[in-house]
Symmetry: C2
Subunit: 215 residues, 2 copies
């Protein structure tokens, strides 16, 4: 019985799979999910289109995996930055917003794909999971702030969702590869500062004056 699955073959298969995922990820980061066509992914990975189907059941599942990996990396980074900001709730909220918004503005196309691009229901389901995770972070912050008396009394779930919404809607104009930005002309940093102040007020936190003097 010649030919057996061996370490070498397993490793090669793993590499193939990874290279397909990396190719898809690169395409998504550059052209969005719509640009990640099976043939383009295969081309980019240097394989035939057919091979994609020995590594993934179908395109949707592949894209959902790409979404999961990219989104979870973003989420981890944001989580860590938030946690690293220390014990003060207000400072953690600040770090959360700045990390989330800052990263989105630095990788606009990817951020747009992850946050707003129209996607298939399977990928949308994945998005819902991550959206929920961000809301959870915000919700915990709010709860914490209420408990320690740093924030006003409020419904943590609603305020968490509202905060995520406030941040992302403020960014959407900048991220959308089409539409014009109503906030055009403002530097990114200014916008982020304004969002931070908005959210602090919304949660009833004491204002943090940014280093720059306010307009």
């Amino acid at each position: 019985m010649p030919y057996r699955e061996t370490d070498a073959t397993r490793r090669r298969a793993e590499e193939r799979r990874t290279s397909l995922l990396m190719a898809a990820r690169a395409l998504v980061a550059r052209h969005g999910f719509a640009g990640a066509k099976v043939s383009a992914i295969a081309d980019t990975a240097g394989t035939s289109t057919g091979l994609v189907y020995s590594y993934f059941d179908n395109r949707d599942e592949l894209l959902a995996t790409v979404f999961r990996e990219s989104a979870s990396q973003e989420l981890d980074t944001t989580r860590q930055a938030t946690a690293a900001a220390g014990p003060d709730v207000t400072g953690r909220l600040d770090a959360f917003i700045r990390t989330f918004a800052g990263r989105a503005l630095r990788g606009r196309r990817l951020a747009w794909a992850l946050l707003f691009e129209p996607v298939s229901p399977l990928v949308e389901a994945e998005r819902l999971v991550y959206r929920r995770a961000y809301i959870d972070i915000a919700e915990h912050l709010v709860r914490d702030g209420i408990d320690t008396g740093a924030f006003a009394a409020q419904h943590p779930g609603v305020s968490g969702a509202a905060t995520i919404g406030a941040i992302s809607e403020s960014l959407i104009g900048r991220l959308n590869p089409l539409g014009h930005d109503s906030l055009d002309g403002l530097p990114d940093e200014t916008i982020i500062d304004d969002i931070v102040r908005y959210c602090h007020r919304a949660l009833g936190a004491p204002a943090i004056e940014p280093k720059e003097t306010p307009r």
Copy 2:
């Protein structure tokens, strides 16, 4: 030269066109834009699929028209309710939020289609216009509030966008025909009250206590 275009024929054509639009609108309100397939629209309107193309250049244009009509009706209603709330900025903000959120929750599927459903670029462009219009309303309110001393000093554009985002993100869980709502269990009215309070705080407006005693 028999057969001339006449009042009767013109009227009938107008009716045909309208019935196609109504059919499409009904389908969108029930199944979203994805459910408004050309054949389904034609069936619902009681015509052949081919006929659709003597009244509209293509499906996208028809759907963009449907979007425009539905969205502008929503916008008008919200605008009027806001204006009708009187001269007090805080009260107008309150009316704006309650009208927007209340209507969305009453017509969830339509609201979801208009606000969040993945659509073609042409329809998305239409959505951008209306999104911008809502932000404009909020932005004006903010500017007004700042001028009259009712709101804190802030960037009206950013705060306008953030406010729209806060409202819609709080609703998204309820509107999405798929995903579960993290705010499940809360009655709509409670959520709206919480959103109102959130936004008032965010803009630095004096709190408005709702008639109901807060939780």
